[in-house]
């Protein structure tokens, strides 16, 4: 796992670095004394799986930092403040909360938690949209999409999909009730979706246009997700709307 360390205290960064050295699966790709520097790094480097993040920092706090970045990777908070533990539950990306001084057994437990979650994510990726008979026959785009999850073909109700996001070699399909991570591409799934419902607003996003809440500047709100709209695709998106 590629990880970064964000802590304004050099001593604390060194402690975490030393702990990371004792875990073969951890690869430190950056260390930052403040959140701003880390944001700049994350904007350029996509492959960060885990952040060891201090809460108390000058400028942006650890929580401010999480709110600032889009699609944060897994986060383990490292802090001297046990009282913030409850706040940590507000954030889906926060996997664990370690109170300083950090000892190796507690650190290993946190890393194990992260590894377990990442493993589940990959399994849930379920979906290698299979090149099955269905594809070969170029089946019509009906209301159902079948995806392969743990050797089972799972049916997804197409109209319930509201957002599909490209994530490297995977796509994340979000429906009203569930989210699926599938080993596939936006192009492949786009071909399986009805054009009158779905529109590719950005190279990384396909939305269900019936689920739009509002559009503002170059972003669209789909349920609770804010999705960017590329400048070139915006005119077509507007054209599809029933404008007053």
């Amino acid at each position: 796992m590629n990880c970064i360390i964000i802590d304004d205290e050099a001593t604390a960064r060194l402690v975490i670095r030393q702990l990371c050295k004792q875990v073969d699966s951890l690869n430190i790709v950056g260390e930052f004394p403040d959140a701003i520097e880390a944001i700049k790094f994350l904007n350029q480097q996509e492959e960060v799986d885990l952040i060891f993040l201090d809460i108390h920092m000058p400028g942006l706090t650890g929580f401010d930092f999480i709110q600032t970045i889009k699609n944060p990777p897994k986060v383990v908070l490292t802090t001297s403040d046990p009282q913030f533990a409850i706040d940590a539950f507000e954030y889906e990306c926060i996997v664990d909360y370690i109170v300083k001084p950090i000892v190796l057994p507690r650190f290993l437990k946190a890393v194990q938690k992260v590894e377990n979650l990442i493993s589940v994510d990959v399994k849930e990726k379920p979906i290698v949209v299979q090149k099955t008979e269905v594809e070969k026959e170029n089946a019509p785009k009906g209301n159902d999409l079948y995806v392969n999850i743990d050797r089972r073909l799972v049916k997804i109700d197409i109209p319930s999909i509201y957002l599909i996001e490209a994530k490297g070699d995977y796509i994340q399909i979000k429906t009203d009730s569930k989210s699926y991570v599938v080993h596939s591409t936006l192009k492949k799934i786009e071909d399986k979706l009805p054009d009158d419902l779905f529109f590719k607003v950005h190279r990384s996003y396909i939305i269900n246009t019936t689920m739009i809440v509002d559009i503002e500047d170059n972003s669209v709100l789909i349920k609770k997700d804010v999705v960017p709209v590329s400048r070139s695709n915006k005119p077509e998106l507007i054209r599809r709307l029933n404008l007053l």
């Binding site: 001593t11 030393q18 001297s80 403040d81 190796l104």
Partner: protein
């Protein structure tokens, strides 16, 4: 008052003496600066700055295995949040002890 020790650093190092040397050097570099910030914040009666710097010094206190002093620092930090300075003397005594200890390692 309890005495500082290197137990935590030794435990972390697992015999890695380069790490031990490195962390001690970093603490020797950071601690005096943090102490200076602390006293200038005391003089300025800047409680927000004091909360921040006591919080930071707390970590150093814990690294040296000063568990009782750490509790004092927690209480002091909490008091500072209420614009009070309870436990100031005890906390500053601990800074003196750590300063002396750093000269021996």
């Amino acid at each position: 008052m309890e005495s500082p020790n290197l137990n935590y650093i030794k435990e972390l190092s697992g015999g890695d003496t380069a790490f031990e040397e490195q962390i001690i050097n970093i603490i020797k570099d950071e601690f005096p600066k943090e102490k200076e910030t602390y006293f200038s914040s005391v003089n300025a009666e800047d409680f927000n700055a004091l909360v921040e710097i006591v919080h930071k010094l707390k970590h150093k206190i814990s690294i040296f295995g000063l568990t009782k002093t750490y509790e004092i620092a927690v209480s002091y930090e909490s008091s500072l949040k209420d614009n009070k300075m309870d436990f100031k003397k005890e906390f500053e005594d601990a800074l003196v002890v750590i300063t002396s200890y750093l000269e021996t390692i």
